[in-house]
Every structure is written in structure tokens, then in C-alpha cells.
């Protein structure tokens, strides 16, 4: 044991001297490369993780909340069109602990027509479902009301007012030209042809932009207005449920089932972003590839530095062995050096990440098609990258030093 301790302290002594008396330029350059590799791994994967998180957050905040209840099948197995006795159902839902609010919506297919100069020459139309909301209820399950970029949110009493998502209005940086009214503004009049033949004129009261295209492709009127269009009452096409997220959605779904919602179709938010799930899986693959590249860059750099250092000191290593130094001490001293390069690179990387890049991206988030994406780091991924880099550095330090240390002393000294 004492011998092992003595070997470690001897290796530490040599390592300390390599660092303090070795080339400062090599030290700085190697640490810079290790830092860049660490940043490459964590910034890119942080942005991709952040983009994925952003999709999840925005889906819950602006699109479908946590859970969606839709009509199920009737006793004959036919698809129901509406959830009946919605007021009673909502009371039952909100009595479940952990459920914050429930908001019902009607949805009705329609063609929306917009004639900007009222001459009929430039009429634009889109075919898209119009949804209804109870504005007071809706405020508790979605954040659309805080994302208005023009005009105002709906009020319960509004009947001839409508609000549009950015992508439908076609302004405010909208990207999806095909489903857009190409520049409808607050105060403009639009005509809605519902599938049941009812035609209504509405004044655009507000335009919202959450930055999340799926959420920004909606058209809302009030619940009262839609009930008059459809000539029904106390029903809903869907109910959005907001939970306190103390448990996974599956837990609340089972509670809803226990509360008697057995015939309805109940799904968590994740079921509504099928297209995006594919994207997140792709992001995951890209992250792993970048992690591998980053590790290879840092590993190869450290390997080259240690390779050059040991090759240049071949004679010196031979002399140390001639004096009686064990191979293990020589190897350990260089492994410590490689570990030190990586550790300093990681520390510098963490400092830059936390003090420079994260604040910068928080102030200037990247604009992705799925919304604004800041830079966030996942602690588990951060730890994985740190541990991986340190392991790679140990290997990168070991191989070249082992190669030289096992050489014949005579060859090492005299070539």
C-alpha cells in the first residue's frame, strides 16, 4: 500500500513539474481545444435539447394543455360528435386533486374568407376548423391570451369577434403561406362559412403569436357564438385539462377514468405532436453524433499532445527508467497530465457556458420553426459529457505514454 502511495506521489510530482515547468503555449492551446470540444458538445446538444423541451412546453402551454378529452363511442360503437353535459363533466374533472382547470372547446369546419379592399378582386380564403373557447376558462389552461401581438383577447360576451393565430392571419412573421389570409389585420372583417351552412361575419379582435406553429394555426370565437352557430348547448368537441404536473399525465388519466369518464377518448399532450416526435428523435441522433465528434476531437487532441510530449521526452523517460523509475509512474504522470488538460478544459467550458453562452442565448434565443429556443443544459447530459471527456482523456494519455514507457531503455536513450 505504501509503495502504491509512493508511486502516486512520485507521479504527481512529475506531473506538477510538467505543468509548471513545461511549455505554457502547449498547455494553453490544449486546454483551449478541450474547452472548445466541451462547448461544441454542450452548446449544440443544449440547443437541440432546448428545442425539444420548447416543443413539449409550448404544446402544453399553448396548444393542448396536459390532457385532452374527446368524444368516445356511443353504445352502438359509433363515434360520438360531442361530449355531452359538459358542465357536469368539467365539475367532475376539476374535483380531482392535482387538476388545475378544464376548458371545453367546440370545433367546426369552415372556410374563412378575407377581402382586404372589399372589392372582391383580392379575396383570400382558407379552409380550417374554427374553435370556440370560453375565454375565462381558457385563460386557466392555455397561455394564448398572453401572446397577443395585436388587438385584444376575446371576452365572454363577444359574438361578432374572432381571434386568429399568426399563421392564419399571415402577418407577424408567419411562415405557412398556404394556410394564411396573407395579411389580415385587427379590425378587418372576415366571413366564415361553417360546414353546416351558417355564414357569419366577424371583426378580427386580436392576433396572437406563441411562436409555436401548431398553436398559431387556430381560429377562435366565443363559446356562446359557436353554440348559436351549431344550435347546441352544454356540449363540447374536446376538453383541455391543465394539471399541476406533480404526477405524469397517465396518473391523471387513470383518475379521470376512475371518476367515471369511461366512454371518452382521453389522451396526454404527447399524442398530439406526432410529427414533432420524429423531429425530436432526429435531434437525439444528432446530439449523439455531436457528442461522439466532440469526444473524438478532444481525445485525439490530447492524444497528439501526449504523444508528442512522450516522443520528445523519449530519452528522458529512458533515463528515468534507468534510474529505477517504474513504468507505471511514467505512465501515471502522463495520464494525470492528460486528465488535467481535460479537467481544465471542462472547467473553463462550464464557466463560459454558464457565464457567457447561456446568458447570451437567454437574451438572444435562436428562432426555430418550432419557436424561440434558448440554451439550456440538462444536468444528466452535462455530467455524461464531463465523464465521457475525462474517460477519453485518460485513454488518450495512457496509450502514448504506455507505448513509450514499455520501450527498451537502451533504445529510448540512444534511439
Amino acid at each position: 500500500m505504501r509503495e502504491i502511495w509512493n508511486d502516486i506521489t512520485s507521479a504527481l510530482f512529475l506531473f506538477y513539474k510538467y505543468v509548471t515547468r513545461g511549455s505554457k503555449g502547449t498547455l494553453i492551446l490544449t486546454i483551449i481545444v478541450a474547452t472548445l470540444a466541451f462547448l461544441e458538445i454542450n452548446i449544440i446538444s443544449g440547443i437541440l435539447s432546448s428545442a425539444i423541451d420548447q416543443v413539449y412546453l409550448q404544446t402544453k402551454a399553448s396548444y393542448v394543455s396536459n390532457i385532452v378529452i374527446q368524444p368516445g363511442k356511443d353504445q352502438w360503437g359509433n363515434n360520438e360528435q360531442y361530449i355531452k353535459q359538459v358542465s357536469q363533466v368539467k365539475r367532475r374533472i376539476e374535483s380531482i386533486p392535482g387538476i388545475i382547470a378544464a376548458s371545453s372547446r367546440y370545433s367546426c369546419g369552415a372556410v374563412i374568407e378575407y377581402d382586404p379592399d372589399k372589392t372582391g378582386r383580392e379575396t383570400r380564403s382558407v379552409s380550417w376548423p374554427v374553435e370556440s373557447i370560453n375565454p375565462d376558462e381558457e385563460r386557466r389552461v392555455s397561455d394564448i391570451h398572453i401572446h397577443l401581438v395585436a388587438g385584444e383577447y376575446l371576452a365572454n360576451a363577444d359574438r361578432d369577434r374572432i381571434i386568429l393565430g399568426r399563421e392564419i392571419s399571415g402577418g407577424y412573421g408567419a411562415n405557412l403561406e398556404l394556410q394564411s389570409l396573407k395579411g389580415a389585420r385587427v379590425g378587418d372583417e372576415i366571413k366564415v362559412y361553417y360546414v353546416n351552412g351558417i355564414v357569419r361575419k366577424y371583426i378580427i379582435k386580436g392576433i396572437y403569436s406563441t411562436g409555436f406553429p401548431l398553436a398559431d394555426m387556430s381560429i377562435f370565437v366565443t363559446e356562446n357564438e359557436m353554440e348559436s352557430v351549431l344550435n347546441i348547448h352544454d356540449r363540447a368537441s374536446k376538453i383541455l385539462i391543465k394539471t399541476d404536473e406533480s404526477y405524469p399525465e397517465e396518473y391523471y388519466i387513470s383518475m379521470l377514468r376512475q371518476a367515471g369518464l369511461n366512454t371518452q377518448d382521453i389522451n396526454p399532450w404527447i399524442s398530439f405532436i406526432g410529427i414533432v416526435i420524429g423531429l425530436t428523435q432526429t435531434f437525439g441522433i444528432i446530439k449523439n453524433i455531436l457528442l461522439l465528434i466532440g469526444l473524438m476531437v478532444s481525445g485525439v487532441t490530447i492524444f497528439i499532445v501526449i504523444f508528442i510530449a512522450t516522443t520528445a521526452r523519449k530519452k528522458q523517460i529512458g533515463i528515468m527508467k534507468a534510474v529505477g523509475m517504474k513504468d507505471e509512474i511514467v505512465i501515471l504522470s502522463y495520464v494525470m497530465l492528460a486528465f488535467f488538460y481535460a479537467l481544465l478544459g471542462i472547467c473553463l467550458g462550464i464557466i463560459l457556458l454558464e457565464l457567457v453562452f447561456k446568458p447570451y442565448f437567454a437574451a438572444n434565443p435562436l428562432i426555430f420553426p418550432i419557436g424561440k429556443v434558448p440554451l439550456t443544459t440538462n444536468p444528466a447530459e452535462l455530467i455524461l459529457s464531463i465523464v465521457s471527456m475525462l474517460i477519453v482523456s485518460l485513454i488518450a494519455g495512457f496509450i502514448p505514454s504506455w507505448r513509450i514507457a514499455r520501450q527498451n531503455i537502451i533504445k529510448a536513450i540512444w534511439g
Binding site: E3, Y18, Q316, I319, G324, K326, I409
Partner: protein
């Protein structure tokens, strides 16, 4: 002290080189032996075998009655560390370490306490006349000073056998004198057994005995009388060492 029996060393290759052929000799404790011979005669090869830096093809080497010719690599390293001192032709010091660190390195490897190895190394540095240069980096020392540091390092483990491979080859006349006189002094005053490879004939007069090698064989032996030694100390490589008060006190 040193017994060499029928030592052979063959370097394998397309054309194997028989570098040492049945070399046998004994060296008693405290003798200063010069190994001489023309280039390629096997001088350095012999020293490498005695210094356990290489393994002989056949034959035996006994150092203090221990057969060291068949030791494992690990045991050879431990033996070198504890019992041998080696001075190389070039100033074989570690550039990242200063003078005293180079000297105490073997003691550190032996597990001696820090305070103790600094004291021992400091004393040896004084002994070789470098008390004022303890903390100088290798690059700040002259060739002669570096070789004296190397000698101090070779002695620091209290080794009885000092092996020196052309220790003066790269030194100027003054430093040659200093190093050779130091080796002679170590032999006289500390009872050090010294084997020194040299190709400069006048240097053999610092030794007690000369082993002449030719084509890998021990060709002849020569004893140096005390008068020649005294003459060498006084007249060969005359040096002005008055500026170095500790040296050869």
C-alpha cells in the same frame, strides 16, 4: 563485488552482432576501473549489461554476490534504484526539474521522507561543489555542472557501484578535470566502486585498473600505479577550482 562470468551479448538482426564474447572478470570493492577500447569494441554494451539496462544473451553477472543476469524487468528496476548509480555520456537530466530535484528523484522513488531527501540531496550537491546551484534549472547549468549533478544523482541512493559511460565526452578540458577528479575522490574517500567507459587514453590514469576490449573480447588488463594516478591528478586537465571552495575539500 562485481563478478562477470562468460558474458555474451548478441544483437539479433539480419546479420547478428556478437557484441560481447565470453567476457569474464572480477572487480573488488572500491576499485576504479576504466573500460577502454576502439569504437565497436563492446565498451558501452558491457556497461549496459552491468548497469542492468540490458539483458545478456548468456553468462552471469554477480553484483554483491547476487546473480542479476536473470532478474525480471521489475526486479532489475528495483535493483538499479537501490544499488546502482549510472552517469550517462550526455547530461542526462530531466529538464523540467531543477538541480536538486534531479538529485533527490531516486530517493523520492525509494519512498524517503521529503525533509530527509532534500537534506541528503543538498549535502551531495555541496559535495560535488554545486551548493549554490541547488534551485537552478538544468538549462541554467553548464555542461560540467550538469554532469556533476548527474554524478550526485548517481550517488544519492548510497550506491556502492557507479557506472559512468564516457562521462567527459561532451565536456571542455576544465570540466573534464573536475569530473574525473571527483570520481577519483569518490573512490578514494567513499570507497565507491567505479566503472568508467572512456576512449581518451589519458583518462585511464585516473583509474586503478584498465580493462581493454577489442571486438567484444577482453583483450588485456592494465594496472595503473599510484605515481601515474598522482601525476594525472596534478597535471592532466589542470583546472582552476579555487572559485569553488567546497569542491574536493
Amino acid at each position: 563485488m562485481i563478478n562477470v562470468k562468460n558474458l555474451n551479448k548478441i544483437y539479433p538482426g539480419h546479420i547478428p552482432v556478437h557484441a560481447l564474447k565470453d567476457v569474464s572478470f572480477d572487480i573488488p570493492r572500491g576499485q576504479f576501473v576504466a573500460i577502454m577500447g576502439p569504437s565497436g569494441s563492446g565498451k558501452s554494451t558491457l556497461l549496459h549489461q552491468l548497469g542492468l539496462l540490458d539483458e545478456p544473451t548468456s553468462g552471469q553477472i554477480f553484483l554483491d554476490s547476487i546473480d542479476v543476469s536473470k532478474l525480471s524487468d521489475r526486479k532489475r528496476a528495483a535493483f538499479r534504484l537501490r544499488h546502482l548509480g549510472y552517469v550517462f555520456q550526455e547530461y542526462a537530466l530531466i529538464p523540467e526539474l531543477n538541480a536538486i530535484e534531479n538529485v533527490f528523484l531516486p530517493l523520492m522513488l525509494l519512498g524517503m521522507k521529503r525533509r530527509e531527501y532534500i537534506r541528503v540531496a543538498g549535502e551531495l550537491m555541496s559535495h560535488v561543489g554545486l551548493a549554490e546551484r541547488l534551485n537552478h534549472l538544468v538549462s541554467e547549468l553548464s555542461g560540467g555542472e550538469q554532469q556533476r549533478v548527474a554524478i550526485a544523482r548517481a550517488l544519492v541512493n548510497n550506491s556502492r557501484i557507479l557506472l559512468a559511460d564516457e562521462p567527459c565526452a561532451n565536456l571542455d578540458t576544465e570540466n573534464k578535470g573536475i569530473v574525473l577528479k571527483l570520481l577519483r575522490k569518490l573512490c578514494n574517500e567513499m570507497g565507491q566502486t567505479i566503472l568508467m567507459v572512456t576512449h581518451e587514453p589519458e583518462q585511464r590514469e585516473f583509474a586503478d585498473r584498465v580493462l581493454w576490449l577489442r571486438d567484444g573480447r577482453l583483450e588485456k588488463e592494465e594496472l595503473i600505479d599510484k605515481e601515474s594516478q598522482k601525476n594525472a591528478l596534478l597535471n592532466i586537465y589542470r583546472t582552476d577550482i579555487s572559485s569553488d571552495p567546497d569542491f574536493l575539500k
